[in-house]
């Protein structure tokens, strides 16, 4: 009688366990695992993947940068030489006396007579043409008047274009000069000479873009090497230098019809 009572109780308990407890426990564990493991892991995964990608990129960049820097250390003398060359053609400061000396020297060596030489500062230019460009540089603007023959003028321009430091012709005009028998043509030029002061800092995580072995860079350096350097210490004291007070000097083009010559000049091209 007692045994049969116990059997009934165990059977009921077993049924209750099978019927309710196992599914309930499974559900509780499922919810706990889902809420505390699956959900946070799933949510964290994209962030971690992104973080991993960032770190991988950073590591790759740093490796690349270290490689470049080690190469630059190996070729330190070349880097120094190239820096000197670049600093000669694109100087860090205005260095106006040296610039005017160079312009005057190029003109006189080309057979031209310098009749006017003045300068202004503070113009801004940029390599891309956009003045907000980070590579913006400053300009010394030179107004120059020279006199001479056409061949001399052509030589002057060729010398100017291959001179170190860099001088670019912004605008020019020339007319037959009837008032001066010693010169054939009166030439007026506005020249721009860029200068750029750079003061970089070491930024560990940013890559160094300089590649001294790239074709572009080698071509640039070879071009600079072919330019002639004019010693700024040789100053011609006979040239009167005038500093124009206005910081912004606009080149003026006189209408050519108003300055039409009254006498027929000799042919310059024949």
């Amino acid at each position: 009688m007692t045994n049969s009572k116990i059997n009934i109780n165990l059977s009921g308990f077993r049924n209750a366990v099978i019927n309710y407890l196992v599914p309930l426990v499974c559900m509780v564990i499922t919810v706990v695992v889902g809420f505390f493991v699956l959900r946070p892991s799933y949510k964290a995964l994209p962030g971690l993947k992104s973080d991993l990608d960032t770190k991988r990129t950073l590591e790759s960049n740093l490796n690349k940068k270290l490689g470049i820097l080690n190469k630059l250390v190996d070729f330190k003398s070349v880097v120094d030489e190239n820096s000197n060359l670049v600093n000669k053609i694109l100087v860090s400061e205005e260095m106006v006396p040296a610039l005017l000396t160079q312009a005057d020297k190029i003109a006189t060596e080309s057979g031209l007579q310098v009749t006017k030489l003045s300068y202004t500062l503070a113009s801004v230019g940029s390599a891309s043409g956009d003045e907000k460009d980070t590579s913006s540089y400053k300009i010394v603007e030179i107004s120059m008047g020279v006199g001479g023959g056409f061949e001399q003028f052509k030589t002057f321009l060729l010398n100017l274009e291959s001179a170190s430091r860099m001088i670019n012709v912004n605008t020019l005009r020339y007319t037959y000069d009837t008032g001066d028998n010693t010169t054939e043509y009166a030439i007026t030029l506005v020249l721009h000479s860029p200068y750029l002061y750079v003061e970089s800092t070491a930024v560990t995580d940013e890559p160094v873009d300089l590649d001294i072995t790239s074709t572009d860079f080698i071509n640039l350096i070879n071009k600079i090497k072919s330019f002639r350097y004019y010693d700024p210490n040789e100053i011609n004291v006979n040239v009167e230098i005038i500093e124009t007070p206005s910081p912004e000097a606009a080149p003026v083009d006189t209408p050519p019809t108003e300055n039409a010559p009254t006498e027929t000049p000799p042919s310059i091209f024949n």
């Binding site: 196992v22 564990i29 670049v86 005009r173 083009d253 039409a260 310059i268």
Partner: protein, 183 residues
């Protein structure tokens, strides 16, 4: 012929109940296994990624230290790069006016005299000169146009001077400034 179910209704209820219980138990166990499996997979992925990140962090710290030791050469390199890239931009954009003079010289026939040259807006040159005949002015124009550099020649004024002094002319010549860039 119709079949007759002789199983009592209590027994049938019990069988149905048992089936439902078995099904729900199996379902929850399968669900648990799936959740545990997927959860474990994501947990392992996180663990693996965190371990890799930790390894990368160590490597990055090491690389940063090495790079910091080369800060002097880095500053020199940055200065050189900035100046050289600016220079390249200037070279690419600057106009070589000597090319204009050379082309102008080559395009000028004998007995045509260039008296003045000035540069106008939008890549134009204003040229005044003197020629012996009208044909020479036309020749000058044609020779200018035969050059790739000059794209258009506009003859603005032509005036005959007396006493065999020829013809004064004023032309506006358009040029392709791209051809004046450093090659």
């Amino acid at each position: 012929m119709e079949s007759v179910n002789l199983i009592p209704s209590e027994e049938r209820d019990e069988q149905t109940k048992t089936k439902v219980v078995k099904f729900s138990t199996t379902l929850t166990i399968i669900l648990l296994i799936i959740v545990c499996g997927v959860g474990g997979f994501y947990f392992y992925q996180n663990y693996k990624i965190k371990k890799e990140i930790s390894s990368l962090d160590t490597n990055i710290t090491k690389l940063r230290t090495e790079i910091n030791n080369l800060s002097n050469i880095e500053i020199n390199a940055r200065n050189l790069y900035k100046k050289s890239s600016t220079l390249k931009g200037i070279f690419d954009n600057r106009l070589l006016y000597s090319k204009i003079l050379i082309n102008l010289q080559e395009s000028t026939p004998a007995n045509v005299i260039i008296e003045s040259v000035s540069f106008g807006l939008e890549d134009t040159i204003n040229i005044t000169g003197n020629a012996q005949t009208y044909n020479l002015v036309q020749d000058f124009s044609n020779m200018l146009l035969s050059k790739d550099l000059f794209t258009e020649v506009s003859l603005n004024t032509v005036s005959l001077k007396g006493n065999d002094k020829g013809i004064d002319f004023f032309v506006v010549v358009s040029f392709d400034s791209k051809l004046l860039h450093d090659q």
